[in-house]
Symmetry: C2
């Protein structure tokens, strides 16, 4: 089997961490019947610098043609003063929209070896394993009309949040399918006591649930969900929510683990394509120093093999190798305590490759 992966290193620590993930992908497929073909591309600030746009036409074409995309991270302070359509984040929003990547899967898993990194008490987070399913191409992120206009002599910013039945239904199905592989619980998060958009969201989730009688569906308001994630996060299995709520809650949930440098993500469309990237950002403050944690990107590569190429067996191998290097006490600076052995980005990559 021959598959192509578009690699978009992006900005900040992006290039360093994707480099390690590509090495791991090569090592795990070496001698297997899966032949990977890597293509490099530009996105974010790096694309702006080289081509004048954060999501160049060429990258778009390459993305549409690829079987999967592996992305590092985008953004950096040097781009803060660019016009909105030219900023690095626009590259990310652009590729999500162009590829139709409506389903963002963000696991928040606490690695037992890193339990101490959490700011929460050990008993609250031990064994934490939540999957957040975030709708990624709708809601207020892409809603029209939007802008800044003048009304009665003063400026007013406005945005539109919307979802139609089909958009809600398809993300609902992704969440229920995921729950079937897990603990069979879906918590749908909305703000149905205030927003009509959420009212429709809730109705459709209830309808989708009928097709999954084995899965328990609950509903929670987003403010309560933010509280419950702090109070007792282990009550959750799969959480499904719209774009903006998912942005907030998935970041909150990742931070519960204390080691966001460990958390991968997958963004899928309905053609079986996917974009895989670490949950963390581009960390411009430590870029180029060779100290960034490549594990979230390496674990994103595992998700890529599992979800886009149907190779759960190879994904398992990568995940086991990551667990093994943690058992060995190897840590990049972000997750390192005085008892551990501090390693560089490349050394961490070496260790994972060796463990495979």
């Amino acid at each position: 089997m021959q598959k192509s992966i578009l690699v978009l290193p992006g900005d900040g620590i992006g290039p360093e961490i994707t480099e390690q993930a590509v090495r791991v992908l090569k090592a795990v497929t070496d001698g297997s019947d899966l032949a990977l073909n890597f293509v490099d591309g530009l996105i974010g600030g790096a694309a702006y610098d080289a081509a004048g746009h954060p999501f160049p036409e060429e990258t778009k074409k390459a993305a549409m043609a690829a079987d999967a995309v592996l992305l590092g991270a985008v953004g950096g302070p040097q781009y803060d003063n660019l016009d909105r359509p030219l900023r690095p984040e626009r590259g990310l929003l652009g590729i999500r929209s162009a590829m139709g990547l409506f389903a963002n899967l963000r696991p928040a898993i606490l690695y037992p070896q890193l339990a101490d990194s959490s700011s929460l008490k050990p008993e609250v987070v031990a064994g934490l394993d939540i999957l957040i399913v975030r709708e990624l191409t709708g809601g207020v992120y892409f809603g029209q009309p939007r802008g800044i206009r003048e009304v009665d002599g003063q400026r007013e910013g406005f945005n539109t949040m919307h979802y139609n039945e089909a958009e809600i239904e398809r993300i609902g199905r992704v969440a229920f399918e995921a729950a079937m592989q897990r603990n069979k619980k879906v918590c749908s998060v909305d703000k149905a006591n205030v927003l009509e958009t959420s009212e429709l969201w809730r109705e459709i989730m209830i309808r989708v649930a009928k097709d999954y009688p084995q899965v328990e569906l609950t509903h929670m308001y987003v403010d309560n969900a933010a509280m419950q994630l702090v109070r007792w996060p282990k009550q959750f299995d799969v959480m499904v929510t719209e774009n903006l709520f998912g942005d907030i809650l998935s970041d909150q949930a990742s931070m519960l683990t204390g080691s966001i440098g460990m958390l991968p993500s997958a963004s899928l469309n309905d053609k079986g394509q996917g974009l895989y990237e670490p949950s963390h950002g581009s960390a411009p403050d430590i870029a180029g120093q060779g100290i960034a944690n490549p594990l979230a990107t390496i674990l994103s590569a595992a998700m890529l093999l599992r979800y886009s190429f149907g190779r759960g067996d190879l994904a398992d191998k990568i995940e086991a190798a990551v667990s093994h290097v943690l058992d060995q006490g190897l840590r990049t600076a972000d997750i390192c305590t005085p008892q551990d052995r501090k390693v560089s980005t490349t050394q961490m990559g070496d260790a994972v490759v060796a463990a495979l």
Copy 2:
């Protein structure tokens, strides 16, 4: 000085807890030069039951005429199937809008006596004292157009988020004024990398900051704010944000303390009127059992004296009395550990009155 307070007990535990707060207000003003006149009114489900509407015209008139409003809580499962405009929450949104209560102040304070209640590690939350300033009458809560419509044969829910310059500026001023009385730091939370509404928000905050050169202004994206509140909440002094983000983040921040039964809130308009209510909800599951924690409502009454009647001296007395009963080891069920003395709602009220 003669002042009138409209008391709106509302639903669930509302009546029990407001009763204790009224007792405390009477006790603390007894023999002082402040004469309080209490008027009772209906809101939420209780108002629907008695008058067919969650925010009856009579309550509206009474609210406009009062110097301040003390509210318990609204909502309960028996109202879940009512039409949207008749649900208890609509009463709350109605009074906020009618009185123009644009500034919601929600402190998240960790009482040293209750440090163990938090799900976070003691060193992460010890001494926590954040003030969240939430805009309360704008944004997607009240934006038009909104609704559920049919487009191309399928239903679509839509809502509008908007803010104009004046709305942003006035809430900004509240935050900066509050920061001047505190640690002189304001963190403005937005999603300016995605939303035009936030872009204007950020611009106006920067403009307002010019009038407060002693205050340090920082900006944070809402997803990052949700992470930072988990990672290291003590980095914050005053956080200011729009209605929906404030709803989510203020609930998250309250839960960091582990004792949401202790947290008051104030909602102010530009005429010096205010509505004061506990940060927690109506807790229908324990209503009528006499076990609810009245302290958040009692502390809301302290805020009432401070903000609406300029009587910080009396507010200090109430706060000291609350601290004293905690020192005595008195606890309602929600904050009680085996070492403490468990008391009822009324006994807690007795103890605060005795401590005054």
